[in-house]
Every structure is written in structure tokens, then in C-alpha cells.
Symmetry: C2
Subunit: 235 residues, 2 copies
DNA sequence: GGTAGAATTTCGGTGTGCCGAAAATCAAGA
DNA sequence: TCTTGATTTTCGGCACACCGAAATTCTACC
């Protein structure tokens, strides 16, 4: 008997599969999935087979893993949980935005729906988390702001930061220190030679950002307010 | 690899062992432990052996299971977690006292120390949970009010309710309905013939309480305020 | 003191998610 | 088209907490 743990393993697989294609639409392979989950490739191949039998993913051998509509539904549920919890920790308990991910990673599997929705209510049903990731609604709709990776933004473009990946807490601390946070407006000045840093201007200050940073920051070059957006999944 | 789950299994064993002797000092056997945990006796025997190797319990074969000081320390830590969470759910999220136990049973294993202590701070370091169970301090001290089981209270005695077991939610709902709650003053009127109900008076109202209820309610016949108490464990 | 019945432990076995090594498959270049 | 190196899957095994049945041990009672 192993009910609780089982559930959370499945939940993690599905969540990671979804998250991988959320901002950059590239299908995920078992080996990438293994890397993200910190597991051996062989373990993931086996588990993916089980997820397939459970109707959560499709997987052509040697090919990509893709979520079914049921898989998407579960993934959005988990993302809502993860991101609400992160938001809650920041808002109610004054956690730093670099400190919330690990705790959310555990709690997303264990809070009851009742408690989670009570928290969402107390927070006023927020629409994005501390890193700019959209929080799906309880009925599985999600609005992702149109955005480009800072690394891919053309020279001279101006954009507002709409998302910063929370994968590396060190980076988050560095960026906060430099006052590069959500909603800050950036101007892309240009790239230093030989694959070097990207020069950007934030307010009056100029920064040289490395690959690590520019591959983690998304900017929106469109309208100045988070009014618009792309309905990503409506499962 | 199975770190999280492992921990919570051990935590549950230790917590149940401690809780069994908290209000009535009777040593616990493997079979009673199995019943409390909802497991087969054989499973418990094996696990107890492992807990022994881990230095958490002592167990003479065919005899009682007893916590070591390290086991008591872990048990008190878990009881603090469980009871703080129950209190928090009632205070902050308006859960009923009959609704908190199951959620706490899960969350006690998954909240970080940091979050738990933040919650304790917001609640003002409460000293008892919604059912009157004492909340151990973070450094493992606990003050249990002197109390007798209502079933064992002599006829004519007067006492204040200091604890109601939260094992049966149905009973909790019934008692709340009858306004028999923590701190209510009871007078034991007498027992109906043939092992029947116990008649008690609460305020102006008279109640006939069955075995189920009288074996779940503890009253304090001593001083009227929760000033005194017995330092139960100071591990 | 001997013995039946109850309590407890031992034993063989299960399901799950995981791993490393070996085998199979794919894809790119020659 | 063939080869080769990388990716992916298959295979045998492991650890863990659990279970039921069988064996052991204890405890009353005679
Ligand atoms: Mn996160
Ligand atoms: Mn986030
Ligand atoms: Mn409880
Ligand atoms: Mn309680």
C-alpha cells in the first residue's frame, strides 16, 4: 500500500512534462525528462510506459512524450497548486522569491483542495506567481502573456519583464540584488563579441547579463499592461 | 530512493506510541499499535524491530514497546506539528474541530520547520489544540493538565472539560451540537443502571452520555484555570 | 506442572519506483 | 548504403513497507 507517494510521483512527471513546453514549445524526450526529475533514463522510460497505460501521456518509442487532455488537466491542476503556494508563501509569510520553490514542490502534493482554495480566496485569486508564471484557474484555464526570451530579443527592442524562471535560486538572488525583477522595463542594447554577455538597460542602469540570465528572463514587447495574453490551454 | 515517505512512516509509528500513553499510562503492545495504525500485526512487529535499530524504541519480544528519549523527542516534535496545524486550520481557515484531524495527519509530515514555526508565531504560540491536547514547545516541553476520564469520575464530582479525544469526528459533531465543548463545567449526576449512560449536567441542561462519549472526555476537578499542570515530558 | 488458546513473531512473498549494464534502435556522415 | 556513436529501451535486481499463513511463545487455568 502506497497511495500518497504514488500520486505525487505521477503528479511530478506530468507537471514537468507540461512545464517544459509552457514557454518554449519543444516536445520533451525521456532523457530530458529524466534530467529534469533527477532520475535515470531507464526509470523514466518505464514510468512513462505506466503513464501511457493510465491515459495521461502518449509516447511513441524513441520519440517524444506528450500529454493527453487528461494529462494536461492534471498538469494544470498541479501548476495551479505549485504557483498558488509560492505566492502564498511570499505574501503571507514573507518568503523571498528565491526561497519558495522547494517548499511548494512538497506542499503541492499534500494540501487538500479545500485548504488550497481557501488560500486562493484569501489571496484574492492571483493570476500569476512571484516569478511571473501564470496561475491556472480552478477549472483549468490559463492565460500566458505573450513573451520572448531575453536571449532571443533583437537589439534595440524594449520590453517589460513578465517572467523569470525560478529554477536557479542563486540567479534569483542576484537579479533581485540588481533590481531586475518582474515588470521592470528593459532595453536591449546589444551583444558583446564572441558569444559574450548581453547589454541591457534598466532605468538609468546598464547591466551585462550572461547566458544563464538571458535564458531565464522573458520580456513582453507588446502592450504595457498585462491586459492581453494568449489562451494557452483550455482543457 | 524513497526519503520522504520513509520519514513519515517512522513519524507515525512514534507519534502513535507516544499518544497512547499520554493521557492513560498504559504501555502499548505491537497488536494495539497495529490496530491504531490500521496495519497487520506482522508488519508492525517488523517495523518496530527497525525502529529499535534506529534507537527510537525499545522492545522486549512479546512485551511492550517503549520510546527511548530520542523517540520521545521525535514524538513530541510530531505532536507539536499535528496540533499546531489543527489549531491553525480552525483559527485561520474556520475549519470545524471535527474536520481538522485528517488534514493535519498529512501536513504534519510535509510542512517545513520554517513554515510551521511561522504559523506558530502568527497564532501566538498556542498551548493547546482545538481538542484540548497540549502543544509541546519547539524545544520539547509539554504541560498536560491534570485530568480524569469522565467515565472514571466519581458521582457528584464537578469538573471542567479539558480534553475531548478527536478520534471520532461523529462524536465531535454530536458534542458540539449539544454544546459540550472545551472548558464547559460538568457535574456528574450518576450512572443509569445495567452499565447504562452517565448522567451529567452542563449549565442548566442534563445529558445522558454513553460509553463512547464518557471514554473520550477528560475533566479537571482541580483549580478552575489552566494555571497548573503536570510536566509530562521534558525530553 | 501441563496444556489449550491467545498473542506475537517468523517466513515467504508482493507491488512500486528506482538503478546500472546490456541490448536495441536511430540518425548522421562517409 | 553502410557504419558508428548517441539515444533509448530492456533486463535483472534492489529497498521498502506491507501482508497472510505458519511457527513460536506466552498465559491462564486446571
Ligand atoms: Mn516553482
Ligand atoms: Mn514560480
Ligand atoms: Mn488530531
Ligand atoms: Mn487534536
Amino acid at each position: 500500500m502506497r497511495a500518497a507517494k504514488d500520486r505525487s510521483v505521477v503528479e511530478d512527471y506530468v507537471k514537468v512534462i507540461y512545464a517544459h513546453t509552457e514557454w518554449q514549445p519543444e516536445p520533451i524526450t525521456t532523457s530530458v525528462l529524466a534530467a529534469r526529475l533527477g532520475l535515470a533514463a531507464s526509470s523514466v522510460t518505464e514510468m512513462v510506459k505506466k503513464l501511457g497505460s493510465a491515459g495521461l501521456v502518449t509516447h511513441v518509442p524513441y520519440g517524444a512524450v506528450e500529454l493527453t487532455s487528461e494529462g494536461i488537466r492534471l498538469a494544470l491542476r498541479m501548476l495551479r497548486r505549485h504557483r498558488l503556494i509560492e505566492t502564498w508563501l511570499v505574501e503571507v509569510f514573507a518568503y523571498g522569491w528565491d526561497e519558495v520553490h522547494d517548499e511548494a514542490e512538497v506542499l503541492e502534493h499534500t494540501l487538500s483542495d479545500r485548504l488550497l482554495e481557501a488560500i486562493a480566496g484569501q489571496l484574492g485569486e492571483p493570476s500569476r506567481d512571484p516569478h511571473g508564471d501564470p496561475i491556472p484557474t480552478a477549472d483549468g484555464r490559463v492565460l500566458r502573456p505573450e513573451a520572448v526570451l531575453l536571449r532571443d530579443a533583437p537589439e534595440g527592442s524594449i520590453g517589460r519583464i513578465v517572467r523569470i524562471s525560478d529554477r536557479d535560486p542563486t540567479l534569483l538572488r542576484y537579479l533581485l540584488d540588481e533590481e531586475i525583477t518582474l515588470d521592470v522595463e528593459l532595453t536591449v542594447l546589444g551583444r558583446k563579441p564572441f558569444g559574450g554577455a548581453l547589454a541591457v538597460q534598466a532605468g538609468a542602469v546598464e547591466h551585462d547579463l550572461g547566458e544563464e540570465a538571458t535564458a531565464s528572463i522573458w520580456i513582453s514587447t507588446g502592450e504595457p499592461s498585462p491586459a492581453g495574453g494568449v489562451p494557452l490551454e483550455t482543457s
